[in-house]
């Protein structure tokens, strides 16, 4: 081992790296919000059993869960590009992650819905609640708790997955690291440091998630 670490160039670029980490966090959070909304819709469509729409939900879920996330990203980049739709690197990553999140979350939601006894819905309806009220006030809050930790996992996964953005020219944390490292050739130092930032980011997310759960789920 005769490798000499040179940390100074990395430390000097710390603000750039942290800024990129915020971009990573932003795109992950946004892709989760979109993923949750679409995932919920996909789960409901799939459970509705209507043939005319179920294929769409099943197709989305199958592709999102059974193909590499990188290829899903490429679809929104090069795939749409081939048809003349050119998205910015940011949008490519946001769309790709949202697509992937929605597929995974849809299955989590479906499991959550199946775990709520049918009788909860009947009890709500028997009190005069509309179907929408029964779902909004009785079913979905309970589903939310069941899928909360799987959802946290997906959030962590989204942060890590966003590093694929580097391959479509997106300057999130990994892309930025690659960019800076290639200028100074301190590649090992940079990526070691970035790995530590990812680690810290994930730990913060897990901590925040636990805190929110503690505030939210008193029962």
């Amino acid at each position: 081992m005769d490798y000499t670490f040179h940390w100074r160039p990395v430390i000097r670029k710390l603000p750039d790296l942290l800024e990129a980490a915020l971009v990573t966090l932003e795109v992950a959070v946004l892709s989760m919000v979109i993923g949750i909304l679409i995932g919920l819709a996909l789960a409901l469509i799939r459970m509705s059993g209507k043939r005319s729409t179920v294929w769409f939900a099943v197709g989305w879920i199958e592709i999102a869960r059974n193909t590499p996330a990188l290829l899903q990203l490429f679809f929104f980049g090069f795939g749409l590009g081939a048809f003349g739709f050119h998205l910015s690197p940011y949008m490519i990553v946001l769309c790709g992650l949202s697509f992937n999140n929605a597929g995974y979350l849809a299955e989590n939601f479906r499991g959550g819905f199946n775990a709520i006894p049918d009788t909860q819905y009947r009890a709500a309806r028997s009190l005069g609640m509309s179907a929408i009220q029964a779902y909004a006030r009785i079913i979905i809050p309970q589903v939310f708790r069941i899928v909360y930790y799987p959802m946290t996992n997906q959030m962590v996964w989204a942060v890590l997955m966003s590093s694929l953005g580097m391959l479509v020219g997106f300057r999130e944390l990994t892309g930025e690291t690659q960019f800076l490292a290639s200028k100074t050739f301190r590649i090992f130092e940079y990526f070691l440091f970035t790995a530590a930032i990812y680690y810290g980011l994930v730990k913060i997310i897990l901590g925040a998630s636990r805190l929110i759960a503690w505030r939210l789920f008193r029962y």
Binding site: P117, T119, Q120, R122, A123, A124, R125, S126, L127, G128, M129, S130, Q133, R137, I138, P141, Q142, R145, R218, Y219
Partner: protein
């Protein structure tokens, strides 16, 4: 008044109700007894429109439950229902369980709804459990919570679907006492039950349902003392 006329109900090829006729007058307590699978519970679900029917009709104060233009959400406010599996909402405290429907269905203010809920919980003897989550309540307490929740909508009729069947034996008494209390207050009640003592003591009339039909109906003294139908006699001999 609830008028049930020639009601038929099938699940696929299985005909569960084969022409039920029953009129429930206001203030009357009716117990429905019969073997498991005889269609008793299904009948209750049909009365508040949680189940469709294939024939006949059910009128609640003259309004056809399964009519095309019936607003079921509004109609159900008049029909309180208590389930075998008490179905308390686990993510809400006792008070929130009871206050939710008055607020979002009837449009009461938050304060009003809480006041109604507090009063109803005291009514069923849970005045000291307002902020407790259902998971911390016994089965009997959860069932009384479910009764309070139904009462908070100020229904004109109460439907009890085997309200004590899922309870441990030592908890049955407190729920039956609550139901007795309601009956004594003049509530109109239809109780599907396996509690023959309750049916005998509290009901104005008892209906014995067999194979989707009302085999015999009459005052408790008739059903339990001098049943006309041989099937009724045989059923009662078995459950005693």
């Amino acid at each position: 008044m609830i008028e049930i006329e020639g009601v038929r109900k099938s699940f696929g090829p299985l005909e569960v109700l084969r022409g039920i006729d029953l009129t429930v007058r206001n203030g009357e307590v009716i117990s429905i007894i019969g073997a498991s699978g005889s269609g008793k519970s299904t009948l209750l679900y049909c009365i508040n429109g949680l189940e469709s029917i294939q024939g006949g009709r059910i009128l609640v104060d003259g309004e056809d439950v399964h009519g095309r233009d019936t607003n079921l959400n509004r109609l159900r406010q008049r029909l309180g229902m208590v389930f075998q599996q008490w179905n308390s909402f686990p993510h809400l405290t006792a008070l929130e369980n009871v206050a939710l429907a008055p607020r979002i269905v009837k449009g009461k203010s938050r304060a009003e709804a809480r006041e109604i809920a507090r009063a109803q919980l005291e009514h069923v003897g849970l005045g000291d459990k307002l902020d407790v989550y259902p998971s911390k309540l016994s089965g009997g307490q959860q069932q009384r919570l479910a009764i309070a929740r139904a009462l908070a909508m100020e229904p004109d009729y109460m439907l009890f679907d085997e309200a004590t069947s899922a309870l441990d034996p030592e908890l049955v008494g407190e729920v039956l006492d609550t139901m007795r209390l309601l009956a004594n207050e003049g509530a109109t009640m239809i109780c599907v039950t396996h509690e023959m003592g309750f049916a005998r003591d509290v009901s104005d009339r008892v209906a014995f349902v067999d194979e989707g039909r009302i085999e015999e109906i009459g005052p408790p003294s008739q059903i339990f003392g001098a049943a006309q139908s041989e099937k009724t006699q045989r059923f009662l001999a078995k459950v005693r």
